[in-house]
C-alpha cells in the first residue's frame, strides 16, 4: 500500500469515527431545534481549553476535557439565562454568549500563553490531514494518535444514547410530558450540551472546527428528511457521516485539496440530494405526485365528457381521438392521459379510430358526473350562489370526492336533478370506483 493511500485511509477512518459521534448527538440537537448550540459550544469552550492547557500542559488531556465540558455547559446555561432575562430569542442569546466566551478565550491566550507554545491552530483549527502523520503503534499497525481519543469518545456517545434513549426521546419530543413524569428536560439539555462539548473538543484536533459543526448538523438534517423513526434517523445520520468521509476524502485526495473542506462540501451535497429525493417531502416526490394528479384529472375529464355525451345521445357514443385529447389538455399530459385511459381499459378504440367508453370507464365517468352534480346541488342548497357560480368549483372538486363523501352528499340532498335540471346519475358504479387503488391512494387519507 502506498503511503498516500494509507494516509487517505487514515483520514477516512478519523472522519468516519468523529463523524458518527457528531451525527448521533446532532440528531438530538436538530430535533430539539437547537442546531446552532453545537456551533456556539464549539466556540464557547475556548476559555475552558486554555485553562485546561494551563493546568495540564500538552501531555495531560484530562484538564482539557474537564475545562471544555464545563465551559460548554456554561455556554448552554448562559444562553438560557441571557435570553430569558434579556427577553430575547435564544439565537440572539447564543450569539451574545458564545462570541463573548470565545473572546475571553482569545484574551487568555494572548495574555497568558504568549511565551508558552499553545498551538491554538492545532486545538481549534485542526484539520483532517494535518494529524495523519502523528501515529502510535497498536498491534503492529500505525494508528493515528487522535483515534485513541476519538474511539473512546464514540463509545461514550453510544453509551449515552443507549442508556438514556427514552429520556432523550421523550424530552426532545414532549418536554412538558417529560417534566410531568419526572424526567427533567432541562437536565437532559445540559447533559446533551456536556456531550456535545466533549465530542467537539475530541474532534477539533482531528477534523477542524468547521467540519465539526457540519458533522453535528448536516447528517442529522439529512437523516430527518429521509426517515420516520428516531432509531432509523440515528442510523441514517451515521451512514451519511461515513459516506461523507469516504466520498469527501476520495475526491479530496484526487484534487489534492484539504480533506476537511472536501468532506464538508460532500455532506452539503448529500443533503441537497436528500432534499430532492426524500420519499415524502422531497422535491421529486412532490413533482411526481403533482404530475400524477394532473394526469388523473385529465383522464377523468375525458371519461366524464364521454359519459355526458352518452347521456345526451341516450346510448353509446363515440368521439374522435383528437377531440378526446383536446379535452384531456394539450401537450404531453393530454397524450399521456389518453394513453392511461387506453392501457387501463377505461376507453377503447373502435376499428375506425373513434373512442368509446368501456364498462369500467363508464362506471368511473358516471361516478364523476354524479359527484359533480351532487356538489353543484349541495352548493346551490347552502350557498345561495347564482347558477353560473356552480359549475367551476364542481368541475374541480369532482376529482377529489371519494365514495363515502359522495354518498353523504347524496344522503343530505332530496333531489334527483342538479340546479341546471340534469338528472343526477345513481350510485351503482361506486363499487368499482372504490376498488380503484390509484384513485384511492391519491386522495388525502382523511
Amino acid at each position: 500500500m502506498s503511503l498516500g493511500l494509507e494516509l487517505a485511509l487514515r483520514a477516512v477512518v478519523i472522519g468516519a469515527v468523529s463523524g458518527v459521534s457528531c451525527a448521533i448527538l446532532g440528531c438530538f440537537l436538530v430535533l430539539r431545534r437547537v442546531s446552532l448550540l453545537g456551533d456556539g459550544i464549539s466556540h464557547g469552550v475556548l476559555p475552558g481549553l486554555v485553562i485546561g492547557f494551563l493546568l495540564g500542559g500538552k501531555t495531560n488531556p484530562v484538564p482539557l476535557f474537564v475545562g471544555a465540558v464545563t465551559f460548554g455547559v456554561l455556554t448552554a446555561w448562559l444562553t438560557q439565562a441571557v435570553s430569558s432575562r434579556g427577553r430575547m430569542s435564544e439565537d440572539a442569546g447564543l450569539g451574545i454568549v458564545f462570541t463573548a466566551l470565545f473572546a475571553v478565550g482569545v484574551l487568555l491566550i494572548s495574555r497568558l500563553l504568549r511565551r508558552v507554545h499553545f498551538d491554538a491552530d492545532c486545538v481549534l483549527y485542526g484539520s483532517l490531514g494535518v494529524t495523519l502523520d502523528d501515529t502510535w503503534p497498536l498491534l503492529g499497525l500505525e494508528v493515528p494518535r487522535v483515534l485513541f481519543t476519538l474511539v473512546p469518545t464514540l463509545l461514550l456517545v453510544l453509551l449515552f444514547v443507549t442508556l438514556l434513549w427514552k429520556e432523550l426521546q421523550l424530552s426532545s419530543f414532549d418536554p412538558a410530558l417529560a417534566e410531568a413524569t419526572g424526567v427533567s428536560s432541562t437536565l437532559m439539555h445540559y447533559l446533551l450540551a456536556a456531550m456535545v462539548s466533549w465530542v467537539t473538543v475530541a474532534s477539533f484536533e482531528a477534523v477542524g472546527s468547521i467540519l465539526v459543526i457540519a458533522l453535528l448538523i448536516v447528517p442529522a438534517a439529512t437523516a430527518q428528511l429521509l426517515t420516520e423513526r428516531l432509531r432509523s434517523m440515528l442510523l441514517v445520520s451515521a451512514v451519511v457521516a461515513v459516506v461523507g468521509a469516504v466520498v469527501g476524502v476520495s475526491w479530496g485526495r484526487w484534487l489534492d485539496v484539504d480533506y476537511a473542506g472536501s468532506v464538508t462540501v460532500t455532506l452539503g451535497g448529500l443533503f441537497a440530494v436528500a432534499v430532492f429525493t426524500a420519499p415524502r417531502h422531497g422535491v421529486f416526490s412532490r413533482l411526481w405526485s403533482n404530475f400524477a394528479l394532473s394526469l388523473r384529472i385529465a383522464s377523468e375529464d375525458v371519461l366524464a365528457t364521454l359519459y355526458r355525451r352518452e347521456e345526451r345521445s341516450g346510448g353509446t357514443a363515440t368521439w374522435s381521438y383528437e377531440e378526446c385529447e383536446r379535452v384531456a389538455g394539450e401537450g404531453i399530459v393530454g397524450r399521456l392521459a389518453m394513453h392511461r385511459c387506453i392501457t387501463q381499459a377505461l376507453v377503447h378504440r373502435h376499428p375506425d379510430g373513434a373512442i368509446g367508453l368501456t364498462d369500467a370507464g363508464r362506471d368511473l365517468g358516471r361516478s364523476l358526473v354524479r359527484s359533480h352534480r351532487l356538489w353543484e346541488s349541495y352548493l346551490d342548497e347552502h350557498f345561495e350562489l347564482p347558477p353560473d357560480h356552480l359549475h367551476e368549483p364542481a368541475e374541480r372538486i369532482e376529482h377529489y370526492i371519494g365514495p363515502e363523501l359522495r354518498e353523504r352528499l347524496a344522503g343530505e340532498l332530496v333531489r334527483e336533478t342538479d340546479p341546471h335540471g340534469r338528472r343526477i346519475p345513481d350510485g351503482e358504479g361506486d363499487s368499482e370506483a372504490e376498488g380503484d387503488p390509484e384513485a384511492k391512494a391519491e386522495r388525502p387519507s382523511e
Binding site: R87, L164, F173, D174, L177, E228
Partner: protein, 278 residues
C-alpha cells in the same frame, strides 16, 4: 358537600388531620391558594380547588383566563409564585405515577420521527424510571391503548401523517397507557372532528366509571352540561366551582366571561413593574 368546591377553613384542617393520621382518604386533588406569575406578572390569583371523588371536571373560562396555566402549575411545569398542590394527600414528586397529563396538541412537533405506537409507548416511561427500557408488558399495553381509541391500524404511521383528530386520539391512548388515577387534559377536543370528539368523550366517561378523575380544559360551553359532572369557572381567579347543575349558571358565566377585573390588571401591572401602582 359537593365533590368539587372551595372548602371551608374547618374542612381543610379536618382533611389534613385525617391525612396525617393516615386513617382516611385524602382529596384526589387539593389546590390551595395557588398564584402563578409569568415574568413576575401574576396571571392566576389565589386559586383554590378540591376534588374529592372520581369525576369529570370541566375547566372553562375566556381566553387568557389562566386555564392551561393552572394545569401546568399544578404539574410543576411552570413555577408557582405561591400556594401548594397535593395529589392524594401528597406532593407531586411522590405521586407522579398516579397523575397523567395530555398537553395541547400544538405543544409538540408533529414532524418528530416517531410512530403512533412509539408515542403511545411514551405513556409507560413514567413507571419505568431512569435507564430502563419498555418491555413486553409495556408494548402490549401500548397496543391495547391504541386499540381502545380505534387507532390500531395506524400504529406504524409517522405521527405527522395523521389527521388532527387521529393525532388527538394518539395523545389520549398515550394518556391511557399512563394508567393514572388523575388526568389533566388540555383542550383534548380542540380542532377535532365530530367522530373523534365522541371517542374522546366516551373514553373520558369510561375513565370516570373506572374510578378515575379527569380535569379537562374545555372551550365549547354548549357541551359542558353533557360532558362533565363538575365545572370550574375561571377568569384569572376562581369564579365558581361545583356540580354542573348548580354551578354552570347564567349568573356565574356572566361573572366569568364578563370581562376581567380591572383592579387585578392594575395590580398585576404594578407587580410586573416592581413599583407601587398609582
Amino acid at each position: 358537600m359537593s365533590p368539587v368546591g372551595t372548602p371551608s377553613a374547618e374542612s381543610r384542617t379536618h382533611a389534613a388531620e385525617i391525612d396525617d393520621r393516615g386513617t382516611g382518604p385524602a382529596a384526589i386533588l387539593d389546590v390551595h391558594d395557588l398564584t402563578v406569575a409569568y415574568q413576575d406578572r401574576p396571571v392566576l390569583w389565589d386559586f383554590d380547588l378540591v376534588v374529592e371523588r372520581p369525576s369529570l371536571v370541566g375547566i372553562v373560562g375566556p381566553n387568557g383566563a389562566g386555564k392551561s396555566t393552572m394545569v401546568k402549575a399544578c404539574l410543576g411545569l411552570v413555577p408557582r409564585a405561591s400556594g401548594e398542590v397535593t395529589f392524594f394527600g401528597r406532593p407531586l414528586a411522590k405521586m407522579r405515577r398516579r397523575v397523567g397529563y395530555v398537553p395541547q396538541r400544538e405543544s409538540v412537533d408533529w414532524d418528530f420521527p416517531v410512530t403512533a405506537f412509539d408515542t403511545v409507548l411514551m405513556g409507560t416511561y413514567g413507571e419505568l424510571g431512569w435507564f430502563r427500557r419498555p418491555g413486553r408488558p409495556q408494548r402490549e399495553r401500548a397496543r391495547e391503548c391504541l386499540d381502545r381509541v380505534g387507532m390500531s391500524e395506524f400504529a406504524s404511521r409517522q405521527i405527522g401523517q395523521l389527521s388532527g383528530g387521529q393525532q388527538q386520539r394518539v395523545f389520549l391512548a398515550r394518556a391511557l397507557a399512563q394508567q393514572a388515577d388523575l388526568y389533566f387534559m388540555d383542550e383534548p377536543m380542540a380542532g377535532v372532528d365530530a367522530a373523534t370528539e365522541q371517542v374522546v368523550f366516551d373514553l373520558l366517561r369510561s375513565l370516570r366509571d373506572e374510578g378515575r378523575t379527569v380535569l379537562v380544559v374545555h372551550h365549547d360551553l354548549r357541551t359542558v352540561p353533557d360532558y362533565f359532572d363538575d365545572v370550574v369557572l375561571l377568569n384569572t381567579r376562581l369564579v365558581a366551582s361545583g356540580p354542573v347543575g348548580t354551578t354552570f349558571t347564567a349568573e356565574n358565566l356572566r361573572r366569568a366571561y364578563g370581562g376581567r377585573l380591572d383592579l387585578l390588571e392594575i395590580a398585576a401591572d404594578a407587580v410586573e413593574a416592581g413599583e407601587r401602582s398609582r
